[in-house]
């Protein structure tokens, strides 16, 4: 084979490969997910892709040498032209990126947002002059999603903003923020001035140090943020000078935005906790009132000397017990009536203090012997009642336990030891019987116990 033929064979191979490579490159350009254009110095189109053809509303073949300015609206073209001029004025800049919405020729009604990238192609020629590639990425869906998200942010009752590495407010994401802080424009204002300066005199030493720590963390490591963020002020009462009554309880949270391990931005979220704090205070007040009411009620139903229930409590609760028996919810109910034997002489001899001391001790014995279901009452003076959900036999056993305990009770007055006894009458409640009748019968039995010698309990004969 001659040298010439060898050369030709070789060039065949190279050209075949080149054609295939070009064809693939062209397919890639055609299917680029965005607008791709090659423009000459007069901004005439030298090459477009499928998306460019769609957006500009011209067939591919018709794009060639059509000035781009003729295919888009003048106000939009003016922006493109501005950026082309910027690129030409600064020869060291290879490309310019910017966002600009243009009309889609298929959908005349609204503009679609594109992110554009103009690049100057260095290898230019005399015929076409400077040559540019123009790529536009359709970001309309992204912007739509952002707008949706932004509208959510804007309307949520939180104050959301970022501060830059110098601590200046950069982006605000919520209208509510302005309402919370009572400010009109926060852009580029210092976080310290906006959020903490108005309430400086109310801040603790720790909170002031925490504010300094916020600034220390900016443009510093993530680790330092983790260490210091605990000290950042998280709950403040914010108000403008002279308007403390219009103040708000704000809860502040801090979210780091890191780049390459450094805290470059801080996302700050402010929540108005005023209503919550007010409701907490209201709750506290309600709890206090309830406590006070309960104390008042307790003092009304509890005899302060003996700790037993009063007659007031008896009126409310003994009826319920007797009604349960009337309705056969319980099998039996009975009443034990106690009276301290010879109590008046003790009061007269040793004084009321000693008498009260003895009554207190007897009250404690009755309480000790009572079950939760029993209702022990100081009926008056040295008289006690105990209503029990049981028959008179169990009432008698209860009365005996009380009597024996009282019998063993010794009260010391100086060197003297005083002992007392107690007598009781036990009446069994009959279905339909009222309280007065039950008490009257118990009283009669008590009288009998006294008459029979005291320090004893009397029960109805037929039991």
């Amino acid at each position: 084979m001659s040298n010439l033929n060898q050369t030709i064979q070789a060039s065949h191979k190279v050209l075949s490969l080149l054609e295939k490579a070009n064809s693939h490159s062209e397919q890639i350009i055609d299917s680029l997910p965005g607008v791709f254009l090659i423009l000459n110095e007069k901004f005439e189109i030298l090459r477009g892709n499928v998306e460019a053809s769609n957006i500009l509303g011209l067939e591919y073949e018709a794009l060639l040498r059509t000035p781009l300015s003729e295919l888009i609206k003048k106000d939009i073209w003016d922006v493109f032209l501005f950026h082309f001029n910027q690129l030409n004025e600064n020869q060291t800049t290879q490309g310019i990126k910017f966002e600009l919405a243009i009309h889609d020729h298929k959908q005349h009604t609204e503009r679609k947002s594109f992110y554009w990238h103009i690049t100057r192609i260095e290898d230019t020629n005399q015929a076409e002059g400077a040559v540019y590639s123009l790529m536009g990425k359709d970001i309309s869906e992204l912007r739509e999603a952002e707008n949706r998200l932004s509208s959510i942010f804007t309307n949520i009752p939180l104050g959301i903003f970022t501060i830059d590495e110098c601590g200046k407010i950069e982006d605000t994401y919520s209208n509510h923020l302005l309402f919370l802080l009572g400010a009109s424009d926060l852009n580029q204002k210092s976080l310290k001035d906006v959020l903490f300066e108005p309430i400086k005199k109310d801040l603790t030493r720790e909170e002031i140090d925490g504010i300094d720590n916020i600034y220390t963390c900016l443009n510093n490591s993530e680790k330092l943020f983790e260490e210091l963020s605990r000290s950042f002020p998280k709950n403040i009462f914010f108000y403008h000078p002279g308007k403390k009554n219009e103040g708000r309880h704000l809860q502040i949270s801090y979210k780091p935005v890191n780049y390459d391990g450094l805290l470059k931005r801080l996302l700050i979220i402010i929540e108005d906790r005023s209503a919550f704090v007010a409701s907490e205070k209201e709750q506290e007040r309600a709890n206090l009132l309830e406590k006070q009411s309960r104390a008042i009620y307790e003092s009304a139903i509890r005899d302060p000397l003996t700790g037993l229930y009063t007659r007031l409590y008896m009126a409310d609760h003994v009826e319920a017990l007797l009604n349960s028996h009337n309705r056969h919810n319980i099998a039996n109910a009975c009443l034990v009536m106690f009276d301290v034997d010879h109590f008046k002489p003790i009061n007269d001899t040793y004084g009321h203090d000693v008498g009260d001391k003895i009554l207190k001790s007897i009250g404690a014995i009755i309480l000790q012997q009572s079950r939760n279901t029993d209702i022990p009452i100081r009926f008056g003076g040295e008289e006690f009642l105990a209503f029990l959900p049981g028959d008179s036999k169990s009432g008698f056993l209860f009365a005996e336990r009380v009597r024996k305990s009282v019998e063993q009770l010794v009260t010391h007055v100086g060197d003297e030891a005083i002992s007392v006894t107690i007598s009781g009458g036990i009446s069994s409640h009959e279905v339909g019987e009222d309280l007065d009748s039950l008490i009257k019968r118990a009283d009669q039995l008590l009288y009998r116990a006294k008459k029979e010698g005291r320090n004893r309990n009397a029960i109805e004969q037929n039991i």
């Binding site: 030709i8 070009n22 062209e26 030298l46 591919y60 192609i121």
Partner: protein
Amino acid sequence: MTNNAKIDLLKDKIKFLVRHAAEDRVRKHTGQSEFSVIDADDCLPGQVLGNWMSLILITGSALKITLKLHFSHNDIKPLIYPIYRKASAAEISDQQSMDFIKELCNLTAGFIEQVFEHNDISLGISLPLGTRGFYELFSDYTESDYPMIKYHDLWRLSFDELSIFGTVMFEISDPNALENITSYDQENQDEDEDEGEFDFL
């Protein structure tokens, strides 16, 4: 005749040979005798002249010719649908349109090769390559006389409103070896030439 005058004559002869070859081939193989090759004075070398382009290399030890035909499918399809025996231009695919121009490149190059062969100058032809026109941006049309004679030509094959642009780059490394071509007579040559076969169908 001075050496420079000889070289100018050689350059012109080769330039016009290529023009003539293109005109002749396009006339014969489209059946449109009104096709004529004319100067494209309103265009500059390196200018993007069509959306598509076919390129062919004609090379020998003393000469290299790069021939490019620039076109748009919208222009070519109405011209060739009768050749493909189709009812309308819409039935012609882009690939068929490209194949037609590649074959035109091939036939033009074959014509040129044959003329040189008759004058005892051996040349070879590459395969024709088809691609988009905007790569023309990166072509180099710098002219020079030393160490290699480099020059170019730009014309159009015109018929009615239709234009197929041609750009040609010539590189002569040994003018003496091409001396025979200066005696090339276009009129006589036409009588002898091979009719050729339009064999892409």
